[in-house]
């Protein structure tokens, strides 16, 4: 693992995610640590939202980031940002965890008190921006007809299949799928401003 021109550790924080991933690919733990620092909040937030417990969320995030470390070479910038890639791994791992559960109890965390329990002090500019973005996306979801936001949330955050959702709601499969499609199309219009990260 020869790294003849190792960047100064402090300089790593100024590198773009894609440049850091090249270093991760060459098994540079310092670059990996920076990637983790940048995306830990988004990753843990998603895992917590899906799994509903702190312990399960920690397990999912640990699995996801170790998978990233061990397969950093699979990242392809043309498919999206590092953040989108990381969150995709977390989402898949969380669904795996949910579907492994012997009891189909997908308890959701109450958001009440979370800020107090997990807050880490002063927020960086990036954290402030991330929270504002999250608020905007939740607002857009909230503006959808409730039957559309409901199926999207159950599918994406709950990890339920459309058949399970149809059973839950007592609605035909085709209706559930139609609501998913229509809801995503409406979201696409409302979230157009987020294109730089998501490429909508």
């Amino acid at each position: 693992m020869a790294r003849d021109h190792e960047p100064d550790p402090g300089a790593l924080h100024h590198l773009a995610d894609e440049e850091l991933m090249r270093l991760v690919r060459s098994s540079d733990p310092r670059a990996f640590a920076v990637v983790y620092e940048r995306h830990r909040g988004s990753a843990f937030s998603l895992a917590y939202r899906m799994c509903g417990t702190r312990t399960a969320a920690e397990d999912v995030v640990q699995e996801a980031f170790l998978a990233l470390w061990r397969s950093g070479g699979r990242y392809d910038a043309r498919r999206g940002s590092v953040r989108t890639w990381v969150l995709g791994i977390v989402h898949n791992r969380a669904i795996d965890a949910l579907r492994r559960a012997t009891v189909h109890d997908r308890r959701r965390a109450s958001d009440e008190g979370l800020e107090e329990r997990f807050e880490t002090g002063e927020r960086t500019d990036a954290e402030v921006a991330r929270r504002a973005e999250a608020s905007e996306i939740r607002s857009a979801l909230g503006e959808l007809p409730s039957e559309q936001s409901q199926v999207i949330e159950l599918a994406y955050y709950g990890g339920f299949t459309h058949a399970e959702i149809a059973d839950m709601l007592g609605a035909p499969l085709g209706t559930v799928k139609g609501r998913m499609r229509l809801g995503l199309e409406k979201l696409r219009g409302q979230l157009d401003g987020l294109a730089p990260e998501g490429g909508i």
Binding site: M1, A2, R22, R25, S27, D28, P29, F32, A33, Y36, E37, R40, G41, S42, L46, Y48, R54, E58, V61, Q62, R70, S71, G73, R74, Y75, D76, R78, G80, L87, G88, H91, I95, L114, F118, E119, R130, R131, A134, E136, I137, R138, A155, Y156, Y157, F160, T161, H162, I165, G174, K177, M180, R181, G183, L184, E185, L187, R188, E197, G198, I200
Partner: protein, 254 residues
């Protein structure tokens, strides 16, 4: 735009909500239906935004410590294995991913596929195989070492445009971790093959279909140090003694 009666599946697919067989079927359908492919291109980025919309909470600092302990340990072992430990595959640029569809296996050849007609071989050379890159590579020859070596597979973009695969080996054990793999055609199943150092192609009894998320993890019954390539084709149910199709993916352990 023309309509397709499967367009509603695009939303469910983007959200990961299609059950097992349907997800695989839809992945195959998208390859031939431009209407649904356009829907996927339109809706998938929207689904990609959803994880950024959750209430933001911070993980505990101990989580970083646990993860970094593993990472530092593995990095040290890789460093001890020497400069070849994380060397990218031959011909692959270390600093930039190979352009999708821009690679060909012509240089390495499709040796051993003698059953294939010339046109099929030409097509194989021309078809876009995607090199996904290489993560951790060869380790020192300590068979007890538990740090896995990993090699990214090359995927035939025409047969499996969304697929990615990594071959992982620890000691004498190995497995293939595949995602984005469409279900095989009706009445067929994926089969794992091994190419030995003498060029011989050996069938295995490892037959599989991807799960509802178009993913599969399958054991590879071989010591990777004694295998030149691990290949996957789709074959008639029950498998074949000789491959009947060009491979969907190929991984070279060394």
């Amino acid at each position: 735009m023309r309509e397709c009666d499967r367009c509603d599946d695009a939303g469910a697919w983007a959200l990961g909500a299609l059950p097992e067989q349907e997800a695989g079927d839809f992945a195959v359908h998208v390859q031939t239906c431009e209407v649904c492919a356009a829907q996927v291109r339109k809706l998938r980025p929207v689904a990609d935004v959803l994880p950024r919309g959750v209430e933001q909470v911070e993980p505990p600092p101990e989580l970083r410590d646990r993860i970094m302990a593993v990472v530092e340990r593995e990095a040290s072992l890789l460093a001890a294995a020497g400069p070849e430990a994380d060397r990218p595959a031959a011909g692959e640029a270390a600093q930039s991913p190979r352009p999708r569809g821009g690679a060909s296996r012509a240089g390495r050849g499709w040796r051993g596929w003698g059953f294939a007609p010339r046109a099929a071989i030409a097509a194989a050379v021309a078809c876009a195989l995607v090199g996904i890159g290489v993560a951790a590579g060869v380790l020192a020859g300590d068979e007890d070492e538990q740090i896995p070596r990993q090699v990214a597979a090359q995927v035939d973009e025409e047969q499996a445009p969304l697929a990615e695969a990594v071959l992982r080996g620890t000691g004498g054990q190995a497995n293939l971790v595949i995602s984005g793999l469409p279900a095989p055609p009706e009445d067929r199943v994926y089969q794992v093959w091994l190419r030995r150092s003498d060029g011989a192609l050996q069938p295995t009894d490892v037959l599989f279909t991807p799960n509802s998320r178009a993913a599969a993890t399958v054991d590879v019954p071989a010591d990777l140090q004694k295998v030149e390539e691990v290949l996957v084709t789709h074959e008639p149910m029950g498998g074949s003694q000789q491959p009947t199709q060009l491979p969907v993916l190929v991984a070279e352990p060394s």
